[in-house]
Amino acid sequence: GDQVEQSPSALSLHEGTGSALRCNFTTTMRAVQWFQQNSRGSLINLFYLASGTKENGRLKSTFNSKESYSTLHIRDAQLEDSGTYFCAAEAGTNAYKVIFGKGTHLHVLP
């Protein structure tokens, strides 16, 4: 099965509201990255975490390696937040590879 399971696969939010995206891991991961893929297809780095929580504006991410999950919280959603969000985790067995989830398609509605 997939080592990185992302949920939900799709999400609609009204402007000004918020929600959480989640990645569950089936094996020990050393670190996790979160990306936004925008409408032009570009992958934008949001967070890189080896542990704990980071916050940047309306986004906050947590990585719990012991419980094998990571979350990305979006608050006060804006139209430009629409896109696909990916998590990518560094597996403990190989220092140079990351494993991507299949993404969450976020649609922010006016």
Partner: protein
């Protein structure tokens, strides 16, 4: 800011033809990666490299070769392109494991094999 560039940005090839996708990074990162992105699969790793002269197989290497002639450049080569290789290809660079292992992506190359 990390800088990864790819060329070409769009490519149409014929079945059986040779295709070379190029990637350049100015981050002085040791590690470079090639991924493909297809609907329903997210990003999948094709080849990666630890440094100049090295190439390693990723999760889906069949039908692809890679070349890392220098720290800055990493190429993906399709010797005999097939329609199943129609996809969007992303190159990335990243530091060594630890606090610097974050990956930075290029803008992608859209390849169509007819």
């Amino acid at each position: 800011e990390a800088a990864v560039t790819q060329s070409p940005r769009n490519k149409v090839a014929v079945t059986g033809g040779k295709v070379t996708l190029s990637c350049n990074q100015t981050n002085n990162h040791n590690n470079m990666y090639w991924y493909r992105q297809d609907t329903g699969h997210g990003l999948r790793l094709i080849h990666y490299s630890y440094g100049a002269g090295s190439t390693e197989k990723g999760d889906i290497p069949d039908g692809y070769k890679a070349s890392r002639p220098s720290q800055e450049n990493f190429s993906l080569i399709l010797e005999l392109a097939t329609p199943s290789q129609t996809s969007v290809y992303f190159c990335a660079s990243g530091g060594d494991w630890g606090p610097y292992a974050e990956q930075f992506f290029g803008p992608g190359t859209r390849l169509t094999v007819l």
